[in-house]
């Protein structure tokens, strides 16, 4: 089974600075594998190990997504090899265009049985790329996948949806976006990190791919999320029972109860 993990080299949220007005400054953030993507790496590795398959990492983005550190960071998470499309023409690409490039790259890798992706990226968080990718490939696409296990002629997929858990059998190629807690990703150790430098990396030029044109939308305006009116209420805890009563009253006033 040939499994592609489509992941994003995204700014590390630990380096993001949140201003008092709620705006996020990513300018000083270093890159990292996007927070929820390691789950997809782990699910792919487990599936490949169970079926004797191969795991190919795939990332597309601006030129900065390809650095020795970025390569090792991805390859140390259980990939067999890596395919990168890094071009500054993709610097501000929206989800649809990124999905179109990813689809072209998946086609160029060839004979792919399954694409796994994380739930959403840590910086943009639209959660749109995996399903658009499925559409571009003309494959089955499923979000909210909480488990993938091998079966005789494909995979068994578990989905965690508001209505409950559904179990499905898949035979054809598919794009699956896994939930953040589908599996616990292993932490790369020194062996994995040192081994990463020796694994093959293929840099595919953007111009070598056949990417259909996508008309981009124009952003008209943006606003910060409503954070509500924050209020600090300090309750004297000297007497526990009256403090509890005061807390309940304060929560009622704030309509939290």
């Amino acid at each position: 089974m040939k499994i592609v993990v489509a992941y994003k080299w995204a700014p590390n949220p630990q380096d993001a600075e949140v201003a008092p007005d709620g705006s996020v400054d990513w300018s000083r953030a270093k890159g990292a594998v996007s927070e929820y993507d390691p789950v997809a790496f782990e699910a792919a590795r487990q599936l490949a190990d169970a079926t004797g398959g191969e795991v190919v990492g795939l990332t597309v983005g601006a030129a900065s997504v390809d650095s020795p550190l970025a390569r090792k960071a991805a390859l140390s998470r259980g990939l067999d090899r890596l395919v990168v499309v890094a071009d500054d023409r993709l610097a501000d690409a929206d989800g649809t265009r990124l999905a179109a490039v990813l689809a072209a790259a998946v086609r160029s890798i060839g004979d792919v049985d399954l694409v796994l992706a994380g739930d959403s990226s840590v910086d943009v968080a639209e959660g749109q790329v995996p399903m658009t990718l499925a559409g571009q490939l003309g494959w089955l696409g499923m979000a909210a996948v909480s488990g993938v296990t091998p079966s005789a002629d494909g995979v068994v997929v578990e989905r965690d949806l508001p209505g409950g858990i559904t179990t499905l059998a898949l035979t054809g190629p598919a794009v699956l976006a896994v939930t953040t807690d589908a599996v616990v990703p292993r932490v790369p150790g020194m062996k994995d990190i040192l081994g990463a430098a020796k694994k093959p990396v293929e840099v595919v030029p953007l111009d070598a791919l056949e990417v259909p044109d996508v008309v981009a939308a124009t952003t008209l305006s943006g606003s910060r999320p409503e954070t509500g009116n924050r209020r600090g209420v300090i309750i004297d805890g000297a007497d526990a029972s009256s403090a509890a009563a005061e807390l309940v009253a304060a929560l009622r006033t704030a309509r939290a109860l």
Binding site: P68, L69, A73, V184, R186, V187, P188, G189, M190, K191
Partner: protein
Amino acid sequence: MDFGLTDEQQLLLESLDELLERECPESYIAELDLNHQPPTTFRRAMNDAGFGSLGFPEEYGGTPSDALTLVMLAERVARQGLNNGYGLELLQAMDILEFGSEEQKTEILGLLANGDVPFALGFTEPGAGSDNSAMATTAVHHDGMVTFNGTKTLITNALQSRYLLLMAKDPQVEDPRKSISMYLVPMDAPGVTTNRLDKIVWHISDSCEIFLDDVTLPESSLVGVKGNGFKQLMRNFELERLVIAANCLGLAQCAFDDAATYAAQRVQFGKPIGSFQLIQLKLTDMAIKLENIRNFVYKTAWMVDQELPLKSQGALCKRYSAMAAFEVADEAMQIFGGVGVTVGTRVSRLWRDLRGHRFGGGTDEIMVHIAGRQIVKDHS
């Protein structure tokens, strides 16, 4: 001179961050401290992720690593607020890898891989503290066997360990440099009894008196060469001091971060206390000490990696780091005000644990005793 991290160091530290977040949150450490329990599940997770065998030769399933990287990892674990959470077991493994028999290596590395503490280190005695050469515990060899008699004290992790790495002397030999040997004694051997000492520091590690009454074992319990125990122990001490210094650095950084955050939030006289210059002076001097400790520790590790002779470097580094780190924690506690001495405030634990490092691995004064002689010798 390059002060940047290599890609490998950066990725390894990021991995460790993930593991610490998952397996070693403050609530876990506080609970261990309260109940005087060892961090066994965290150690196991570290081993599963390959951190436990970092620095071991490949033929023993390890991944070779430089001392600088190991020291950064030890610092990072301590910065989480966990005392002695990483590094000391590695040193123990090194002792056995360097001096042990094949059988001893298999046994000890197996225990390490399982997250267990393979052995406690037993040299201190009621009558022999700083002066190790005064030790009175005897090892008498006879008919392929060896019999031990004596008392050890202040032995860390004795109750958690399967073995005691015992230093004992041949009563027939006068010169302590030739009479002392190293042995691996099972803690459950007949004649071994322990008495737990209650102490106010290092609650996650037990400390014990150990009594050896006619404990008789096969001679294969000898580690390394008979009569070379003292030399073998000194080898261990050099690296142990570096790991202790890295541990002190991390704990002090943790105390500093807590105090600086608190200073920015705690309001008195209508302002955050961090706006008062007296508090800023404390934070500034703490930051300078941390920078100094870090440079000292990293440079000493770099010297180990370059195979430069350490001479008194390890003693200088250990003395400065243990003392300055405690000063940082003490000022951190001061910044917290009265709440700083309560059990629920992490800084109180850091303060206690750092105090212990001014004894373990050799006291502040003994570091002067070692370094001072060397300095005079180098200038005569």
